[in-house]
C-alpha cells in the first residue's frame, strides 16, 4: 500500500540521515514529493511511502519516536449536499458507486466508495463538489 505523509523536523533532526534509515530498516520505498529542509533551521518533507501495512505502521512509529512530527496526507471529495437539487448530472460520470439516484429520485452519496477521481467536480452544474487540497490529517 501507499500512503502520503508530511514530516516535520526540528533543527537537530535535520542533521540525521532519516530517509536512508527508513529505507534500510523498514523496507519501505520512499518517494520525496516535496522538501523544504535546511541545515540549522528544521524542515518539512512530503513523502509517499510504499510497503506493507505493517512496514508503514512501523515506519511511522520509528519517526514519531525520534521526534519527527508525522501527519498523514488525505485527499477527499467534499460535497455541499445542502445545496443539491437532485438533478443527477454527477451520476453520469461516477463509476465508483459513490453517487447514485435512489428510488425516490434523490441523490445519494456514500463517501466510502469514492475514489476521488474528481469527474463529478466538473459534472455538477451547481458546482457543489470539491477535491480537498491535500491537508494534514
Amino acid at each position: 500500500m501507499k500512503k502520503r505523509y508530511a514530516l516535520l523536523f526540528s533543527p537537530t533532526l535535520v542533521e540525521q540521515p532519516i530517509v536512508s534509515k527508513l529505507a534500510r530498516s523498514y523496507d519501505v520505498d520512499i518517494n520525496i514529493l516535496n522538501a523544504d529542509v535546511a541545515s540549522g533551521r528544521g524542515g518539512k518533507l512530503i513523502v509517499e511511502l510504499s510497503g506493507t501495512e505493517q512496514d508503514l505502521d512501523a515506519s511511522v512509529i520509528y519517526l514519531s519516536e525520534i521526534g519527527v512530527i508525522v501527519s498523514e496526507m488525505v485527499k477527499e471529495l467534499l460535497f455541499n449536499q445542502d445545496e443539491c437539487i437532485d438533478c443527477g448530472a454527477c451520476t453520469a460520470v461516477c463509476s465508483s458507486g459513490a453517487l447514485w439516484m435512489d428510488a425516490e429520485a434523490r441523490l445519494q452519496f456514500d463517501v466510502s466508495h469514492c475514489v476521488v477521481c474528481g469527474l463529478c467536480v466538473h459534472a455538477c452544474p451547481m458546482c457543489l463538489f470539491e477535491v480537498s487540497h491535500e491537508r494534514e490529517a
Partner: protein, 386 residues
C-alpha cells in the same frame, strides 16, 4: 360527461375539486377505466425542473437624477441588453461575465430573487434630456421597479437524450459525456412533464396560468423552435423535441428553491427553471393523453460527438430511468438524468395544494398555438435584396 374549465373552477371554489399529479394519474389509469377516471379527476398537475437556457428577466431600474439613457449595461459584470429605452433592460440567463466565465445572467437573476445587492454599471452618451454619462451603483429587488422573468423557450416537449461516440470526454449542456458511448444523459421529468401530457396543446395556450419559479406565472406565446412536424407515436407523443412554451412571471415573488443558476463545464451558464402546469381532465380523450406512462414515451439518443448530432438509438423513458440502456451492439450503457425529478414532484404537489386551497384557478387560453410549425436552419447566403 365532458367538463369545462369553468365547471372545474366552480369545483375549486366549492372545495370539491379532485387534483392528482400526472405520475399518480398514470398509475391510476393502469387500474381504472379511463371514462370513469375522467369523471372522477378534475385536474392533473404536471411539472419539470430542468436547465432551460432560453430564459431571462426584464428589469426597470428606475430613473437616475439627472437622467441617463443607459448603454453598455452590466450587472455584476454581466452584459444586459441596452436597446430598451433609458432604464429598461433584458438580462439573458446565459449571458456571461467578462471576468468569470462561471458567472452569468442566471446568477444575477438568482441573486436578485434571493434579495441580494447587485452592482449596476452603465454609460450614456449624455443627451439634453439624459445628461448623465456614467453610473456605478447597487440595486436589489426592492430598489427596482418591474422585475419579471420572460423566458422565450421553456418546457421542451421530449428533449432528446445524449451520448458521445468519440474518444474523448465531451463537456456539453447535456452534461459530461464520457468517451466511446460510456454514458447517456437525459433531461425530462418523463410522464410528469407538462407537454408530454397534452401532446397537441389542446388545453395550453396564450394565457394559461401556471406555476413558475415558485409563484404564479403565465404562458404567453409558443416557445421558440416550436415544432409540430415531428414523427409521433400512436399516443401522439413526438419522438424528438417538439413543442415549447414562452412563459412570464413576477420574479420578485419567486424563490431560489425553484430558480437556480447552473454552470456546465466548458459550456457555460444556464438556469434551472421550475414550471408546473395544471391540465384539466375535460373528457375521456384528455384522460387518455394524461394516462401516458414512461414505457410509452419514446425518445432518440443523439450522438453529441458528431456534427448534427445524429440519432444512434431510440428508447423509452422507463429504460432511461432504469439506470441503463442496451444499445444495438449489445453494450449496456449507464444512464443519468439532468433535470431534477424530485423537484418536479415537489412542484406538482405544491401546485396541487394551491388549487385545493383555492389559491389557484385554471384559466382558459385566449389564443391557441400553431398546429403546423417547424424549425428552419440558418443557411449561409450571399448578398441581400437591394
Amino acid at each position: 360527461m365532458a367538463k369545462t374549465v369553468a365547471q372545474i373552477n366552480e369545483k375549486i371554489n366549492k372545495g370539491t375539486v379532485v387534483v392528482v399529479s400526472a405520475e399518480d394519474f398514470s398509475a391510476m389509469a393502469k387500474e381504472k377505466d379511463l371514462k370513469e377516471l375522467s369523471e372522477e379527476v378534475d385536474i392533473v398537475t404536471t411539472a419539470t425542473f430542468g436547465p432551460m437556457c432560453s430564459s431571462g428577466a426584464i428589469i426597470n431600474f428606475g430613473h437616475w437624477s439627472p437622467g441617463i439613457r443607459m448603454e453598455e449595461i452590466t450587472l455584476n459584470g454581466v452584459n444586459a441588453y441596452e436597446g430598451l429605452a433609458a432604464v429598461d433592460t433584458y438580462i439573458g440567463a446565459t449571458s456571461e461575465s467578462k471576468f468569470d466565465a462561471r458567472y452569468g445572467g442566471a446568477n444575477v437573476i438568482e441573486e436578485l430573487i434571493d434579495g441580494k445587492d447587485v452592482r449596476l454599471h452603465a454609460r450614456g452618451k449624455g443627451t439634453d434630456c439624459y445628461p448623465t454619462k456614467e453610473i456605478d451603483t447597487y440595486i436589489n429587488k426592492d430598489t427596482i421597479n418591474e422585475f419579471y422573468l420572460f423566458n422565450p423557450r421553456n418546457a421542451y416537449q421530449n428533449y432528446a437524450a445524449a451520448t458521445n461516440s468519440t474518444n474523448r470526454i465531451k463537456y456539453t449542456y447535456m452534461g459530461s459525456l464520457l468517451p466511446r458511448f460510456s454514458n447517456i444523459t437525459y433531461s425530462t421529468s418523463g410522464e410528469l412533464s407538462p407537454l408530454l401530457n397534452d401532446p397537441y396543446l389542446r388545453t395550453i395556450g396564450l394565457g394559461t396560468r401556471i406555476f413558475l419559479g415558485g409563484t404564479e406565472g403565465y404562458v404567453v406565446w409558443n416557445g421558440t423552435q416550436f415544432n409540430t412536424r415531428r414523427e409521433r407515436t400512436a399516443e401522439g407523443i413526438p419522438t424528438l423535441p417538439g413543442a415549447t412554451l414562452a412563459v412570464i412571471g413576477d420574479a420578485k415573488q419567486m424563490s431560489r428553491e425553484y430558480i437556480r443558476s447552473a454552470y456546465y463545464e466548458k459550456y457555460g451558464v444556464s438556469m434551472f427553471v421550475g414550471i408546473g402546469i395544471p391540465i384539466p381532465v375535460l373528457d375521456e380523450k384528455m384522460a387518455a393523453h394524461l394516462a401516458i406512462s414512461n414505457e410509452k414515451i419514446i425518445t432518440n439518443i443523439l450522438d453529441y460527438g458528431q456534427d448534427g448530432h445524429p440519432s444512434v438509438a431510440t428508447c423509452s423513458y422507463s429504460q432511461l430511468a432504469s439506470g441503463s440502456v442496451t444499445l444495438s451492439d449489445g453494450k449496456k450503457v449507464k444512464t443519468a438524468p439532468l433535470s431534477s425529478l424530485a423537484k418536479a414532484r415537489e412542484i406538482a404537489e405544491v401546485l396541487a395544494s394551491w388549487i385545493r386551497e383555492k389559491r389557484f384557478f385554471l384559466s382558459e387560453p385566449v389564443h391557441m398555438f400553431p398546429t403546423d410549425s417547424f424549425v428552419k436552419p440558418l443557411v449561409p447566403r450571399e448578398g441581400g435584396e437591394k
